[in-house]
Symmetry: C2
Subunit: 522 residues, 2 copies
């Protein structure tokens, strides 16, 4: 795409056509300025096939806000919309609507609450609550989902991979396999969710992290093609980067060539007073090779150089590698724990695309409309009851038990104050007969999760840097039950409705269905 085209395709028209046709319809019937509320939420955790996530990490909000604050309908956008014609050749958008859009086509009228980035989040809980004139809030839908779905997906995957690697350093390597510029959003989300560093130079710079990397096979190949060998390539690298010498050892053969050559170069470096950093293994049986590598490095007097693993890693592969190391390392006289402590994980493709479940199904649903200064709840009924959104303006509370662990997220109506009575009723979101009663004395904290972010377009929240988001993540993950953190078959965390919200939802469903039940042919 050319830079001029980018302005068109990433600006106000970064939306779906039906948002604009609906906005014009609202304008035509006089509802465009009516305040509406839309909830953004996802319906289920990413399900990677063998294994399903037990929690997600919210991410993407700051970039959404950047987009909203830097985007408005430009004259060129209006000119284009003017030129749109339908199949009979008449214009799709009329002048009066476009004139309104030219003046009002920005997000200064939007108020927004959100569960902040970095926090643990769960299905069916509003992560973002948008209030604004219906026409504008409608146009915002596509971009909001685009910004929030993907980063939340990747922050979640990164948290799982970090967990599988027992908290050791994890590097994000996915730029070449992400979706065009979307890869930058993936890098950011990975850094929020669990990656310590990234190879992505530009984005690391933007976020204030040192980008990480070593060398590729091509460097070794080059020396070979010119009549030298792997050893000369390693020596050249050590000469230029004596204090950052991390060598990729699998261009020819890891154990027969790469490691012996690396050890030779490490010894030379050491004699010159430099500390070698380590080696990277990028193919083959990474568990077996890392044991043999550790054995050879130990014997050569390099017991602490790092062993970086890469090549299609994800949380299950890492888990399997560590299990195999713990079983096999002792047989080769290698201390498994010591080896595991020197591992670093380079994770590319499977992180940046969330392999196994590459899209988070976040949705944006109208839940209330303002009518004569009152918020009227709005409903969409679905044939499967778990797809009927929770109507109305709601508060979201996280309830902590006596251990200080989060035990449920509770959706309640605005005028409710959970914890003010002796017991809290946690109603199952879809099943009428299922509820759980918590005595208030078994509860240590009830925390509201939604924070005010925008008030009529003005930023009213502080947006901390990535380090702050990571602290939130660590705090929240620490307060999850270990069963919820489990990589396979996690406990299902409870997301519940207050008894009052449950009742209101059932009444709305009944009243929406009554015209069908009483249908008389028109």
């Amino acid at each position: 795409m050319k830079p001029r085209e980018r302005k068109i395709a990433e600006g106000f028209l970064y939306t779906d056509e039906y948002q604009l046709t609906m906005a014009q319809l609202y304008y035509r019937v006089g509802l465009h300025d009516r305040l509406g509320q839309f909830d953004h939420f996802f319906r289920s955790y990413p399900d990677y096939g063998l294994h399903k996530a037990g929690y997600c990490i919210a991410a993407g909000l700051e970039w959404l806000l950047n987009w909203m604050q830097n985007t408005q309908c430009r004259d060129e956008d209006i000119e284009y919309l003017k030129s749109q014609v339908n199949r009979t050749g008449s214009r799709v958008f009329a002048d009066d609507f476009l004139e309104w859009l030219r003046k009002n086509g920005n997000f200064d009228s939007i108020s927004l609450q959100a569960i902040p980035e970095g926090r643990v989040v769960h299905p069916n809980v509003p992560l973002t609550v948008v209030q604004g004139p219906l026409a504008i809030a409608q146009i915002l839908e596509t971009s909001l989902l685009n910004h929030l779905n993907y980063q939340t997906l990747i922050a979640t995957k990164a948290a799982r991979i970090k967990e599988s690697g027992r908290g050791k350093v994890m590097l994000e390597f996915g730029l070449r396999r992400g979706q065009d510029r979307g890869a930058n959003a993936g890098t950011r989300a990975a850094l929020i969710g669990g990656a310590d560093y990234s190879s992505n130079v530009g984005l690391s710079h933007v976020l204030g992290y040192q980008p990480k990397g070593t060398h590729a096979h091509s460097m070794v190949q080059l020396f070979m093609a010119l009549g030298e060998g792997e050893l000369e390539a390693f020596r050249a690298y050590a000469d230029v980067y004596p204090d950052d010498c991390l060598l990729l050892v699998d261009t020819i053969n890891t154990l027969e060539s790469g490691i012996p050559n690396a050890i030779t170069v490490f010894e030379e470096l050491q004699r010159k007073g430099h500390q070698p950093v380590g080696v990277r293994l990028d193919s083959g049986d990474l568990a077996y090779l890392s044991i043999q590598t550790a054995r050879m490095l130990d014997q050569a007097g390099f017991p602490d150089t790092l062993i970086v693993l890469s090549n299609n890693l994800d949380e299950l592969v890492i888990w399997q590698i560590l299990t195999q190391i713990q079983e096999e390392a002792p047989r080769y006289g290698v201390d498994a724990d010591h080896l595991i402590n020197r591992l670093v994980y380079g994770v590319g493709t499977r992180l940046i695309v969330s392999d196994g479940d590459p899209a988070l199904g976040g949705v944006y649903k109208l839940v209330a409309v303002c009518d004569a200064n009152t918020w009227v709840p709005a409903l969409k009924i679905s044939e499967s009851s778990n797809k009927t959104p929770n109507p109305g303006h709601k508060h979201v509370w996280r309830v902590y038990d006596q251990r200080g662990k989060a035990t449920a997220d509770l959706l309640a109506l605005e005028d409710e104050q959970p914890g003010s009575e002796e017991q809290i009723i946690l109603h199952h979101p879809f099943q009428a007969s299922k509820y759980r009663v918590l005595h208030t004395n078994a509860v240590t904290e009830i925390e509201p999760l939604l924070e005010d972010i925008l008030q009529e377009g003005n930023l009213v929240a502080e947006l901390p840097p990535i380090e702050g988001l990571r602290r939130r993540r660590d705090l929240d993950v620490e307060r999850l039950d270990p069963g919820v953190r489990r990589l396979m078959n996690p406990h299902i965390y409870h997301v519940s409705l207050s008894a009052k919200l449950w009742k209101m939802k059932q009444e709305l469903i009944s009243s929406a269905l009554s015209p069908i039940r009483n249908r008389v042919a028109p």
Copy 2:
């Protein structure tokens, strides 16, 4: 990301750190200006789990070229690189290298050949061949893969979905589920590979297509919340869009409410002289519902209004829907073929993320280096033989059989002219004993696939609009054996080496391994 940050993160630093450290190393040893050749190719078709693709559609080149032509190392980039320090606190990049990079950090020195966008392509065939100074060609790797991997992946998925829908109209709806800005690249690739239109407004505008869409559930919900109903919502829509009236019918209940209300409105429209367009089904059993919808519309006198299907469609889901329609429709007195002819497919998530296999493993490998005006082949050996790239500068030929169908892609050395002798030997790329002999008289055409695109930075090819790419796609798909086009278990298309290339590769592998075989402890 803020606009200022975007310039950093999407410009010259849109690369991996190791590309820059390698470039500096090449500079330090005097190899930075040496010409190298890198091949870009993928090793296997997307494998969606149950089913593997039998061919891919190349896409992404034009946007890569746009990026290359609009990107150069800026002073700010240099300042940032100057500030990078390693773990001992010393600078990573030295002044002399950065001074060179400031002057040479652009892609004016790159020559590039490619198999053009829209064409059918296969594994292990160079899709893109880059020649240029080693340091610059190395820095280009990440962005090249980022631009080409994803669009080729999505064009391929779109071609399959189009095929499953028997060529009927297919709409791309994925903007909300793509990776941030990457979704625009997905829309473009979908339009190249098989989608007829997209809901993405900005990108459709850029590419010259009318964006498509109807309305969302929220419009119906809004009317309901304000005390009216689905019928009033449909009427409002028909009033504003009398000639584009396509109604979403599942907000309450498809068959009990949505379709009857749509028919009422269609009758009103018809009385006013307008032709209703159709309905959209977005939940439930789409095969069953489309049969019942067709039956009801037929009975009401609307036998030709469209039935748009959406909701997690992909090639297998569409295939299953059509199979079920052909079995069940007659039982309800509905003509299956007539129904299938009025279907339109709205495909979102599963297309934009290539569900089932969300990344194409395209790689970029050094295959030759220029030494004293001669191209010396370069090799990377892998423990699995199918990951050892084909070395040297190669030509790519597509061989057509007597039916005019493509029967193999042949990689040959530059000085070879396949077809000039009586027989063509097609050697299996990895297995020594496997080859196939084609007599030249059984061959109707031998077509060179790589075209010159850039010569030292200058564009020397014409880049046709999407329509032109679609014509290439149709031509190529038409010339595939039907077995290769099959959605499940396709025939494996032959990608072969010439006997001469095979021999050269084996000799190189032997010579690279000889130092190991003769190893003496250093």
